[in-house]
Each structure stands twice: as structure tokens, then as C-alpha cells.
Point group: C2
Chain length 639, copies 2
């Protein structure tokens, strides 16, 4: 069936169900959604169940938009008139692209009203679909810029979403069961490993069916060798024929090279959660900055980051979404960093289900709930194995925190400084929360905790998306009004003068990027503080093979830094396990032990060679599930 | 280094070694050979060791050609003047394409002379490189046509060979070890399965490195569903970028779709042994004919068969040949059918060695020596598993022959006819040899043995290439002058009148194609003889899943034949195992038991699902070699 015919059929079905008098002017696929345009958005909104029923019967995600949108200024006034002042509205953004108006308020509940009554009232008055968010306690310039940019490319994005919508709902040959003459269609599902197998870094997996091609992640290898996924092999070309890129989370080993895809001809969407979109843009820009400072060749420019944002489509956890004619995507909480997701794919009409964990944490952390391991269906699982080795047991978080407190007390009391290299996103916030509590409860002295790199900005993004934090932290911030991230002990370092002052100043704690010492401001601290044995370098995160972090952790005492010379390492080197955003060996095994349903096949990836092999064989022995430890550049048939 | 620079370097080295006075006019890559053009081919030929030394030092296959070739008519006269009359020259073909003159003679030894003295004399006189072949006892129209066609496209072929020669010897990035700034080159070897996994048919394997891509076989699936390899997946595209197609042998499940590659944009060479080239062209044309008669859509026309022949490059067993910048190919006897080869690939500079057995027979047959299993090096082996099941033991050939004699005696004595469906190539000749001997030794009565389909022509091609038969048979034909293929009991059926006479005539034996009853003249016999229970249908070869042969063998008594109606099966159905051109289970295991060197990995392919899995697990258990039973559409990393 041609797409026009399908839309006509949908329009007819919608008209049948819509009460007479409500005029539907247009029905259109936009991205993964079916958009109903109507002259009567008010009456549509009045029919509280109508959209839900249509969505269920048509098996589509449905959005209703007014044919003509009210003037934003006038609409803003109407919103302020309808919503009680006690809501504390701080901003109103009109997004003509989606026909949504984003209402930022200190008390979103008041804007929404009981059972959504105020919200429906707003819709009736202004046509725009209201979306209410809580005013973030720390303003994020990234989030602001992303939103501004998206508004500035309204028209282009509208065209893009319609193009993608029509591609997603295109006919596939042999789909039409009534046409027996159609060529017999092969049925298969394949995964090609383009990186991140028997190694940590450059995650990239290609999921293909006879009709569709989806790339999951596209990261860099954090070993300073500029390692990229195997994007030159024919399996992934032409990039223009990829249906979708799905991003599990914002760490650079998963997202760094996504903008590059647009340079090489990709024109489709990148699906991620909203926080992942913002965090990844921030980290990509920082990545370009770091490379630039090191005089390495940058793989793409900030223009490609913009192009990526322009093509981004965000989905929240649990929303089942068509991303290709025969593939539905659902994100589930992965517990690893803000917005991190397990990507679950339902392929064909019940043909096959496969999930990619990305990085995940199966224990509850200070920031997040544990990773999800309950799925409607699941035949194959690609799971990370960072701590998959048989001895990779991590201490409990509380023990790790005690050890961190001890180390800090020891170093500070001898007049030294503590350098903690950390990923800007995730690890930094975990350590910040631990240190803030430690200081508040008097377990460590009141010294300054300097944050260098993108850490503060990353923290701001955390507070923009409170629904992605776990309940305890959300309550602490919003109910009890005690936002630990705003504690006065934290100070952002945002100039080289201040950095110099920190280096030459009093004993303190420095949390700085990058987390594996492959560039970033932490190198500046190390260069200046490494020779003094009073100081300490405290690793709180995984150090991948080939990084400076791994070398120093292994005991190197002379570390060459290219044209910056060589660092002589005299300061104390500590590794404190237990802050990881990853599951340790026990949790990885438990995750599989408790997973529902039990998959037929498990592929252990994202771990050193020994770890993936060990985890694969242990899962097979314990649970009798077929496992693989694939190599890069292999293709596995799922069905 | 640019190709021109490399050629200049080679020219300099050659000039250093060539005695002064011999002028080298040009040095050029042509296909896999390095061709030295000289004004003095006579003096070059006098220096008996020169070419051998150059080949060894330059590590190239070297051919010397005169800059200007003598007029063919004049040259033919000179040949006849030099060669003694007793040689019995039957034809002289000049192939301007290669600068070779093919001298067909009843006694080739006389043309060659003691230690090649007469041959060198010829070279000195005429410039053309003489190649001496024995006059085939049965003239093959295929061989004649192929040779005529190749002569008619001389000029185009010359250009083609130079293009290929330059492609084979092109620079590959990162090859230059002196250039440290060159991007670090990934090293990997992969095999992608495009067909023939957990099934018999549509063989197609893609061998790739970062620099080169080689397709091994491209066959059809003999199940009447028009099954083709998965040529639509991106791994193999664009076809124009394939470096080479390597054909193991002429059976349609390995070669049927090679001409199709040219229709879809392939422009490179197909490497095979000379008999495989001729047999495959014959079978491809017959294949088109059969499809056409059945009103199915033909996948390509005879033009593409010509294109294939125009792009064919033949190699004899044992000749180590560059086919890509980093890949050398060597064919070894596979013992399966005439010209059948195991394709051995040496990749990189000692990086990896991998062999594809094609179909092979590890026992000596009436026609061939057993398959080779000694290689200079070998890390991975893709082996056929047709009879890989744990119970797939075949009786000894002598027992099979006895059973065949018994069956024939029984059927003939009750006045019935014996129909033996057989592949035109291989099985037919084995059965012919057994029947001829049986009749000669009085083990079966003297009746006519009718050959229908391409059998006689296939037999003619066998006698064109006596060096590909085993010693016993060669001696019988040439030394003892008793060519069993010429026995008077055999009669070719070449008209529908004769076919009708056979059907209505006296008791007899009919050997006819196709071997699995998926089309061909055998269907005509079956249609007319199946209802009479006096007759018998005797299977002497493997019947693949999905073929009519398999259905009848399994006991179907009503066989639908499309618009030709339905055959009711009343005639006797027999299966006589033991004539197979394949190794049985015991021989497959012995082949691996005795292989040298022991490979690290074995992939069991070309067998039903159970058989490949069973063989893979048995080899692993017995020999502790890592084995796989891959599925179609997978990619395995070798290194
Ligand atoms: Zn991560
Ligand atoms: Zn990761
Ligand atoms: Zn392509
Ligand atoms: Zn064969
Ligand atoms: Zn075969």
C-alpha cells in the first residue's frame, strides 16, 4: 500500500471515531508519531479518552495539533491567566516544530492541576500542546542552547520529521499477505559488531533485517589512538540507507562519533532519551575541544553536532516507538548515568526481540534506580561486561565511601591535595554526593571541592531532568529543598587563573575530567601536582586499556605526555572501587539470574577480552544459556 | 609506490639479470602474470634457466612474449617443419591474446621433444609460446566454442588482463613499512556466508581483508524455488569492487549464478581450472535452457555466459597466483569432478591461510585421485559436509557397483528399463565406466546405454583434459588405446524422436540429467516410464532437500509437475549409495585426521543442518579443533 493510501485509510478510521462536528484537517506521520491536525483542538482535548482509544486501535503514537496555532505572545498571556500564580512559572517556550509549549514552573503540579484539568484548559484556549517541566534548580546552558537551536530550525525540522515519518511507515516488499505473487521474503535478523567487542570503547552495533538497518551507538575508543568503530566496512554503507541510530547513553565511548555519521552522509534520526541528547551534545563539544587543544585532527566540527541535534528524536523510558517498518524501540532505565537506557527492539510481528544494555548498573546508586531486567519478550541480549572477570567484585558503595573519606583525611592532614579524575557525567555526581554528605556529617574536613571540566554543567543537566533521578534524591532536592549539588563546598574552576590558584593553594579536593586521564583539565593538575608525594591521585572509575589512567594505575612512574614532556609520578596513587556506574561481576550474574524472560542467547561485549570470555562462559555454566564473546567485525544471525 | 614505479623497478631488475644484447621492450602485468616483451624471444628461450631465476627472485609468475608476433600462417608452417610427422598434429590454434600457440597432437611428447628441446626450437623460430596438448579422443563442441570465442575477443581481453594485472599489483595503504606516518592499518581476515550453510546449494562465501574482497563460488539452490545466494546484502556491494571470483568446480550449486554477477556490475576475473571453465559454461547454458523450457524467468542470458568466459582466468593445480594485493590463490585437486579444486588462500605476508574444499572426495574414484589434504600452511578450513551425518557411511565403490549390476539384471530380465538420474558431470562418467566394465566382463547383459542431456559433451571435455584424470584411467585411454567412453554400448540421445523410440523400445539403461530430477530430459523419461512397475528409477547421487528426487526417494507416490500434470510413481525406486563424488562420513573424518598442517578452525558447510552440526561436533570431540556450523548471512573473524 502506498503511504498516501495508508494515511487516507488512517484518516478515514479517525473520522469514524471522532465525534461529528470535530473537523480533522490533516493526518500526517511526523517522526514516529501520527499527528492529527484539527480546527477543534479544544473539543479534541475535551474528549479525554479519545486520543487514548485511537492510539490503542490504530497502534500508533498519536498527537493532536491545531491546524492553526495561536500567536505565541497572546498564548503566553492566556496561559498566565489560566494558571494560578502559586505555580511559579519561570519560563514559557513555544516550539512551533512540535506545536508544543514548554511551561517551566517551580511547582509543575499546580500548572497541571488536579487530574490534568488546568492543562486541558490551557489546550482548549491556545491550541498549543502544553508540556510542563519543573524549573531546574541550576540553569544549564547546554539545555538552553539545545532548545534555542531547535526553535531556530523549526521549518527544516518539520520537513525532516515528515520525511522520517513516511520512511518509518513505508511499505516493505512481501508485507502484503494478500499478494501471493510478491517475491517470497526472507526473514532474518542480524547483528554486526563494529566495535566494543573484547575491548572497552568505540561501541557500535548494526542491527539489520531484510528491510531495515539500525545502528546502536557510535563511540570512540578512549586510548588516545583515535580509535573509531569500523565504519569503513560495507555492511553499514551507504549511511544514507540507515533507518535509525539509537544512542544508549551520553558517554563518549558510545556517542562521540555520532556527528561524524552526518558528515559521511547519514540523514536520519538519532533516538535517545532527552537527557542523553543534551549530555551527549555537551560531551561531544568538549571532546572536540580536547582534541583541538592536543593538536590532533578533529574528526568533525561543531556544525555536525548541530546537525545531530537537529536530527535527534527523544523518547522517554517505556514508550514503545516505531523506528522502522519492522522495528519498534523501547528504552528502559539502565541505572548507569543520567538518561542511560537499555534499548529493546521488537522486530517484525512477534518475530524476534533483542536488547542492548549499553552500560548498566544493577544496584541502586545515589543517583539512579537499578537497571531494568523485566521485558515483555526477549530472545537475545547484548550485555556490557566491563567488570565481567571472575574476580571483578566491587566493594559496597558504603565501604567505598568510607575508604574515600579515609584517603582524603590522610592526604589533607599531611597538607596534600586530592585529584579525582572522573567522567563529567555520572561518576562526578556520585562522588560529589558522597563528599557533600561526608562534609555535612563531619566525616571529612570542610575544604573546597573544585570541579573542573564539564562537571558543573553536567550537574545542571541532572537537575533539569529530575524524573530521571531516583526517588530519594528527587525528594531531597524538591520536597526537602536541600539540593546537595548546590552545597557551598563546591566551586567550579572556569579560568586558568583559578586553576593556577588551586594548584598553588591550600589542601583541597579536585574532581576533574577526563576520567581516564586521556586529556582534559585533569592533565594540568597532574602535570603540576604529580611530583609532590604529599598529593594523591584517586581513581574512582574504570581505566581502559591503553589510557594514561591505566598506565599510571599499573605503576608507571614516568608518563610521556607528547610535546608537554614527561610527568614524573611521585604522588600517592589510590584506586577506590565501588563508585562504579557499572554492575560488578556479582551484579552482572544476578542481572541474568533474575532476568525475565530468559533470553536464548547472550552476547558479552564492552569488556576486556578475558572479561567478556569469562563472563560468557560463566553465564553458560550457571544458567545454561547460549553465550558468545564476539569479536569486532563479526555478524551473528539471530533468526 | 605507484604501479608505474613498481613496473619500472621490475624492468630495471630484469634488465640487470638479462644477458646484454637481449632487448626487453616492455614489462607489464597481465592478469596474475608479469609479462616480459622482448625482440629476442629466441635468445630468451635459449637461456633455459633465466625465466625460472627471474620468477624466483621477483616472486612473480613470468611469461616471455615477442614484441612482434610472427604471422600465424607462416608460423604454422614453421612448426610443422620443426616437429616430426610422427607427432600427429591435429590442430594448431594461435591465441594472440596470450601470445600462445596451442598445438594439438596425438603424441604430444614428440612435439615437446626430449627435455623440451623441440619446444624451445619452436619458440626460437616463431616467437609465439607453444603449448602442447594431446588431441582429445572425443571432440568437445564446448571446448571448441570457448576457444573460438576467446580468440574473437582478443583485443578486449588484452585490455582486461592489463587492467586486472594492475589492480592485483596496486598499492595498498599502509603497506609501505618505511612510511611511519601512514595511518595504522587494521589487520583482519573475515569470511561472510552468503549461502550453502546448513543446506546444500547456492554456495557463496565472501573472503575479505581491509584491502581485498574475494567471492568463492556463486551457485544456485537445486530446489526449484530459484534459490540464490544472499547477493542483496551490503557486504558484497558494490560488485565492481570485488577483486576476484574463485570457482571451485563446475556443478551448478557452485557456478550457476556467476554470469549474473556480470549483469549486476562485476567486471573482474573468475579464477578456475581450465576444465572447470569449460564445464561450467556448458552447464550454465544448459541451466538457462532448462529454466526456459519450464517457463521460469531466466536470471541472465547466454550473453552473460560469454562475458563470464571473457573474464575467466584459468590456473592449474599447484600454481601459486596473486589474485589481490594481499591474497595468493592455489588450487589443489579435490577428487570430486573434472577440474574440481580446493581453493587455498595465503593472505598477507604470512598472516593467514584459509582453504575452501568445495566438494571433495577423499577416496580414489574411477576418474580421479583422492583430494589433497597437505598444505604448506593452513589456519582455517571451510569443508563440505554433504555426508557429514553420524550415519552417513557409504558402501565401498565395488559393493555399489555389484548392487547396480544386480538391480540392472533384475529389471532387464523382467523386461523393464532402468532410469539413472545423474549430474552430467562426474556421476555420469563414474556410472558409465562401471557399466562399460560390467558389460565387458559379462556381469550385465549387452543392452544399449542411452545418454541424454549433456552427458556425452561432458565426457568429451573429460578426454580434453587427461591430465586431470587419475593415472589408471589416463593410461587405459592413452597407453592401452582402450577408451571406455567410446564403447559401442553408449548411445547419445539427441532428438525427441530418438527419445520416444527409447521410451517405447527394448529394455535398456538410461542415464540422464538432471541428477536431482529438478528438470532436464530425465523428467521426460520419468513421465512416460513411471507408471510401469517393471521399470526402475535408480538414484546414484545425493538428493537435496526440496528436490523432486528427494521427494520420490522419501516415498512420494504422486509427484506434481506443474503444468505437465502429476506423475504417478509405480516403478521400482532404488538408491545405490557409493557412487558419490563426495567423501562419506568416514572419509570426512579421515580427511581431517590426516590433514597437514592441522588447522585452528574448521567450518562445516554444504550439508543439511543436522549433518553440518553433527560433523562439526564430532570433529571437535575427536580432534579438539575449534569447529563451527555457521548459518547463512554470518560473518566470522579469522584473525
Ligand atoms: Zn558509560
Ligand atoms: Zn561504555
Ligand atoms: Zn555499498
Ligand atoms: Zn559438486
Ligand atoms: Zn556442491
Amino acid at each position: 500500500m502506498l503511504i498516501e493510501d495508508r494515511l487516507k485509510e488512517l484518516r478515514d478510521k479517525i473520522n469514524e471515531r471522532v465525534p461529528s462536528g470535530i473537523r480533522v484537517t490533516e493526518v500526517e506521520f511526523e517522526g514516529p508519531e501520527l499527528v492529527i491536525y484539527t480546527d477543534d483542538p479544544k473539543r479534541f482535548a475535551d474528549e479525554a479518552d479519545l486520543i487514548r482509544v485511537l492510539a490503542r486501535d490504530l497502534r500508533k503514537r498519536i498527537v493532536v495539533r491545531p491546524t492553526i496555532l495561536e500567536d505565541p505572545e497572546k498564548a503566553a498571556n492566556e496561559i498566565r491567566a489560566v494558571v494560578p500564580d502559586s505555580s511559579g512559572i519561570t519560563d514559557i517556550f513555544f516550539d512551533a516544530d512540535t506545536g508544543e509549549v514548554l511551561i517551566e514552573a517551580e511547582k509543575p503540579g499546580v500548572v497541571i492541576g488536579k487530574n490534568g484539568i488546568t492543562l486541558r484548559e490551557i489546550t482548549k484556549h491556545i491550541g498549543w500542546t502544553p508540556k510542563v517541566v519543573r524549573t531546574p534548580p541550576i540553569e544549564s546552558s547546554t539545555v538552553k542552547q539545545v532548545r534555542q537551536y531547535l526553535r531556530s530550525v523549526n521549518e527544516e525540522r518539520k520537513t525532516f520529521l515528515r520525511t522520517i515519518g513516511r520512511r518509518i511507515h513505508r511499505d516493505i516488499p512481501g508485507r502484503d499477505e494478500t499478494n501471493k505473487d510478491a517475491p517470497r521474503k526472507d526473514q532474518w535478523v542480524r547483528v554486526t559488531t563494529l566495535g566494543c567487542c573484547r575491548e572497552v570503547g568505540r561501541a557500535a552495533f548494526l542491527l539489520t533485517t531484510p528491510d531495515s538497518r539500525v545502528l546502536i551507538d557510535c563511540g570512540e575508543k578512549p586510548d588516545n589512538a583515535g580509535g573509531t568503530p569500523y565504519l569503513y566496512v560495507p555492511e553499514i554503507h551507504p549511511l544514507a540507507q540507515l533507518d535509525a541510530v539509537v544512542l544508549t547513553h551520553a558517554h563518549l565511548d558510545h556517542c562521540a562519533l555520532i556527528p561524524l555519521l552526518y558528515k559521511y552522509g547519514y540523514e536520519g534520526p538519532v533516538y535517545s532519551t532527552p537527557p542523553t541528547r543534551d549530555l551527549s551534545a555537551m560531551l561531544q563539544l568538549d571532546y572536540l575541544d580536547v582534541i583541538n587543544k592536543e593538536d590532533r585532527k578533529i574528526p568533525y566540527s561543531s556544525n555536525e553536532v548541530k546537525t545531530y541535534i537537529r536530527h535527534s528524536i527523544t523518547l522517554n523510558y517505556g514508550s514503545v516507538t516505531d523506528i522502522a517498518p519492522d522495528i519498534k524501540l523501547t528504552f528502559h532505565n539502565a541505572g548507569h548515568i543520567l538518561g542511560s537506557a537499555i534499548a529493546h527492539f521488537h522486530i517484525g510481528d512477534g518475530l524476534y526481540n533483542i536488547a542492548f544494555t549499553g552500560d548498566f548498573n544493577y544496584s541502586k546508586s545515589r543517583l539512579f534506580n537499578p537497571a531494568i531486567n523485566q521485558f515483555p519478550r526477549l530472545e537475545a541480549l547484548f550485555m556490557e561486561s566491563t567488570y565481567g572477570g571472575s574476580n571483578d567484585f566491587q566493594p559496597a558503595r558504603s565501604d567505598a565511601e568510607l575508604k574515600l573519606y579515609e584517603t582524603i583525611n590522610k592526604v589533607l592532614s599531611r597538607g596534600g591535595k586530592v585529584i579525582i579524575p572522573a567522567f563529567a557525567v555520572g561518576r562526578s555526581q556520585e562522588v560529589m554526593l558522597a563528599l557533600e554528605e561526608g562534609m555535612r556529617l563531619g566525616k571529612i574536613p570542610h575544604v573546597k571541592i573544585y570541579l573542573d571540566g564539564m562537571i558543573r554543567e553536567a550537574t545542571a543537566i541532572h537537575t533539569t531532568y529530575p524524573e530521571y533521578l531516583n526517588n530519594d534524591l528527587r525528594n531531597l532536592i524538591f520536597r526537602e529543598g536541600m539540593n546537595p549539588f548546590l552545597a557551598e563546598c563546591f566551586q567550579q574552576v572556569d579560568s586558568s587563573e583559578l586553576r593556577e590558584k588551586v594548584i598553588n593553594g591550600d589542601p583541597c579536593v579536585i574532581i576533574s575530567t577526563s576520567g581516564m586521564l586521556n586529556g582534559g583539565p585533569v592533565m594540568e593538575y597532574l602535570l603540576n601536582l604529580a611530583e609532590d608525594e604529599k598529593n594523591a591521585l584517586v581513581f574512582v572509575g574504570y581505566q581502559a586499556d591503553g589510557t594514561q589512567g591505566r598506565r599510571i594505575q599499573k605503576g608507571w612512574r614516568e608518563v610521556p605526555l607528547g610535546r608537554k614532556g614527561t610527568i614524573t609520578i611521585n604522588l600517592e596513587i589510590d584506586t577506590i572501587d565501588g563508585f562504579s556506574g557499572h554492575s560488578d561481576r556479582r551484579q552482572l550474574m544476578n542481572y541474568i539470574g533474575q532476568i525475565q524472560p530468559r533470553p536464548e542467547k547472550i552476547f558479552c561485549i564492552h569488556g576486556d577480552e578475558n572479561n567478556t570470555i569469562d563472563l560468557a562462559s560463566s553465564i553458560y555454566k550457571r544458567y545454561h544459556i547460549q553465550t558468545h564473546s564476539p569479536m569486532n567485525l563479526e555478524t551473528y544471525r539471530m533468526v
